[in-house]
């Protein structure tokens, strides 16, 4: 197969590409330039797409004997990931930009262009597995539970999965690092990248406050309706958050208050006791399916964070939304988060949380 390997300049994508070469594929490497003003290098685990990363990717490709090119996707990234991230926060939701990037950049813009240029498949260093099943290709969790990235790939459609290659899914990170070292890949010891790549200092709230106008407003106790404090800007708060509330007016019951809702329209941060964070019904929109749709009422597992637990649930189809009924309560779920549904290790699909609540019967 003609394979386009996306090389970030890190260990995982380099080993993934090396395995694709070993498997006999005709591999061409691309580095995706996602930043308009790349830094010359990064320190530690944050940030990405520096000139040093591009050079590391070039050296890795060179060692594999793969031609190497840089694709400039900074405009798409700005528009579809960064601006989406800002507008979601501005609307009081909590998005996951990695999912958005996989959905609209890596497995759409890149994959589409690769297909048009005559490639059969796009190979990345994501930890996930693709098996061929009775109904087509299936996306499964990686064997390394610490590295499993099937959650952030939950937005991939069956068609996208059919043209994707994740050679690392059957290995642990430790094995991959050892293999990189054995292969002489120079970035073997490079730190893993974490957090949000376009916020290099890791201070998401600070970064958002420079993008979204901060208007001070009131913090309201949802049970009493009383004003219990002020905030510097509602978008800096997310459901389930306790730190940074600085409530100067402790409640009588002595219980800590958490953000239970962010009302961007009225610039209010609603707080309440933790029990109000307990929900068991998730309403979600914009589903994307990795294969055949589940049946109405099917038992599934749902994951709502990149490294969260898979929670037993049933899925129900409504008119224009999906309802996921959890078997147990879940504490703290914000609108905008992605709910990824699993059948065992297989990804069924994903949807964006629009609302969560407690079912009337509980």
């Amino acid at each position: 197969m003609k394979v386009l390997a996306a090389l970030s300049g890190g260990v995982d994508s380099a080993v993934a590409a090396a395995r694709a070469v070993d498997a006999g594929h005709d591999v061409t490497a691309v580095h995706l330039a996602l930043s308009r003003n790349p830094q010359s290098h990064r320190t530690g685990a944050r940030g990405c797409c520096t000139i040093e990363d591009s050079n590391d990717a070039f050296r890795a490709a060179d060692m594999l004997g793969a031609p190497f090119y840089v694709w400039d996707l900074s405009s798409e990234f700005q528009e579809k990931v960064i601006e989406d991230f800002i507008s979601e926060y501005a609307a009081g939701r909590t998005p996951n930009p990695c999912l958005r990037c996989n959905e609209s950049i890596k497995f759409e813009a890149v994959l589409d262009r690769a297909m048009a240029l005559g490639f059969d498949s796009v190979c990345t260093g994501h930890y996930a597995q693709i098996f061929s099943g009775p109904n087509g290709p299936e996306l499964h969790r990686a064997i390394d539970p610490l590295k499993d990235q099937s959650y952030v790939l939950g937005v991939l459609t069956e068609e996208q999965i059919a043209h994707s290659m994740f050679p690392l899914g059957d290995s642990t990170k430790v094995e991959v690092r050892a293999e990189a070292d054995r292969r002489g890949i120079l970035v073997a010891a490079k730190p893993d990248s974490h957090d949000i790549c376009f916020i290099p200092d890791g201070d998401t709230a600070g970064w958002l406050s420079r993008q979204i106008e901060s208007v001070p407003g009131e913090v309201i106790d949802v049970e009493t309706g009383n004003k219990v404090g002020t905030h510097a800007g509602a978008h800096a708060f997310t459901v389930g958050q306790r730190r940074g509330l600085a409530l100067g007016n402790p409640t009588g019951d002595g219980e800590r208050r958490y953000v239970v809702d962010v009302d961007v329209k009225n610039n209010l941060v609603m707080v309440g006791p933790p029990v109000l964070l307990d929900i068991d019904v998730i309403e979600a929109i914009k589903p994307r399916w990795a294969g055949p749709l589940p049946s109405n009422g099917q038992s599934i597992h749902v994951q709502i964070r990149a490294h969260g637990d898979a929670l037993p649930a049933t899925v129900h189809f409504g008119e224009d939304l999906i309802t996921i009924q959890l078997e147990e309560h879940l504490r703290g779920l914000a609108a905008g988060q992605a709910a990824v549904m699993y059948d065992g290790t297989r990804v069924i699909g994903s949807a964006t949380v629009s609302r969560s609540r407690r079912s009337a019967t509980v």
Binding site: T28, H31, A33, R36, P38, C49, T50, I51, S54, F58, P67, Y69, V70, W71, D72, L73, S74, S75, E76, E79, A109, D112, R113, A116, L117, G118
Partner: protein, 385 residues
């Protein structure tokens, strides 16, 4: 590289001798350097004392632009404006922009016409009614992307009316054009060995004796106090050898390459009638063919042709390797999509008709696929003019 230039260089690599040393080995090396300087001067129509060896064209351009600007401002503090062509190579653009950003100079970019030509009228317009603030004018002799050749003699005549120093980046020219430093009327001219079949990393600034520069690099003053650093004797000898051969064979090479280039252009236009042949028809380097392929991203074409063994170029890449819309095409009035849809085919003295045929075979499917891959959204690269 010409085999003779390779031999000249490799034969000398093991020989001891710093040309600045006073002992016998040093004097031997010095003789080789000075003989080479004379050869380079002869080939370029200058006096040998005017040849200052540098580590390539970029360094020579930096010495000229920064060095003349600094020197002129030191002598006449109101001279803080640089006039530069809008189609210059990054080795000019970047030093000029640095002088503006960090040294308090201003810049007036000289407009190009739609063929990439900088005309005397455009230079006059850029100079404006008051030239007393101009420190230096720099306009390239031949463009590295579209191959357009400027009439430097006509341009320096304009500069002379105002008594302004004039530098030209002639890196693209000596292999293909007869150059005579004295006749051009410039006070400084950049050349580079690797464009005439010599090694990378060596070049020269030809600079008249009365054109003073403030040096960039201090430490020994080996080259007329304009440039410091131990001279690279093997590279200098190799450069001079290549320049001499290239000049001796130029008439034959130019005639042969012109036939192949014209054949390439004709056949590309047959395959892709919608392709736009950029640059000047008459005033152009014979080894350059530059096209816009509407709807095809230049780097898609490059990747597809590369896979077929055909090596060509898009405009330029930033230091992360990101292809940028060509500033030359933008300066020529192309829109930003067109400026990203270009491909340059450059021929050399070693190009054969088989190379041209291979390109013509590979091109139709590359255009077809690149069209299907489409044009991703525009990036926000700075627009210069």
């Amino acid at each position: 590289m010409y085999p003779e230039a390779v031999a000249a260089m490799t034969n000398l690599l093991a020989q001891p001798g710093n040309p600045s040393s006073l002992h016998a080995s040093g004097r031997r090396a010095r003789r080789l350097v000075e003989e080479s300087r004379e050869k380079v001067a002869k080939a370029l129509g200058s006096r040998s004392a005017e040849v200052v060896f540098t580590a390539g064209g970029t360094e020579a351009n930096n010495i000229a632009v920064k060095g003349i600007a600094w020197d002129q401002r030191k002598k006449e503090p109101q001279r803080t404006r640089i006039i530069a062509g809008s189609t210059e190579h990054h080795a000019i653009l970047d030093p000029v922009e640095w002088l503006v950003e960090s040294e308090g100079f201003s810049v007036t970019w000289v407009k190009s016409d739609t063929y990439g030509l900088i005309t005397p009228d455009a230079l006059r317009e850029a100079i404006g009614p008051d030239s007393s603030d101009v420190a230096v004018i720099t306009i390239m002799l031949a463009n590295n992307e579209v191959g357009t050749v400027n009439d430097i003699i006509a341009l320096t005549a304009v500069a002379r009316e105002h008594g302004i120093r004039f530098h030209t980046d002639a890196v693209q020219a000596p292999a293909w054009l007869e150059l005579n430093f004295a006749d051009l009327g410039v006070c400084a001219m950049t050349v580079s060995a690797h464009k005439v079949g010599g090694p990378h990393g060596i070049g020269a600034l030809v600079i008249s004796r009365d054109c003073h520069v403030t040096p960039l690099i201090h430490g020994g003053g080996q080259e007329r106090d304009v440039r410091s650093g131990t001279l690279d004797t093997p590279a200098i000898v190799s450069f001079a050898t290549a320049l001499e051969i290239s000049k001796a064979r130029r008439t034959e090479t130019v005639a042969r390459v012109r036939i192949m280039r014209d054949d390439l252009v004709r056949r590309v236009q047959e395959i892709a009638p919608e392709a736009i042949y950029n640059g000047s028809i008459e005033s152009r380097l014979v080894n350059n063919a530059h096209f816009t392929f509407p709807g095809c991203l230049g780097d898609s074409l490059l990747m597809l042709l590369d896979a077929q063994g055909v090596e060509c170029s898009v405009g330029s890449a930033c230091n992360a390797g990101v292809p940028q819309p060509s500033h030359v095409l933008l300066a020529m009035g192309a829109d930003r999509d067109a400026a990203r849809s270009t491909l340059r085919f450059t021929l050399g003295h070693s190009t054969t008709q088989t190379d041209i045929d291979a390109l013509i075979v590979a091109l139709p499917s590359a255009i077809d696929r690149a069209k299907r891959a489409g044009m991703p959204t525009l990036t926000s690269a700075p627009v210069r003019v």
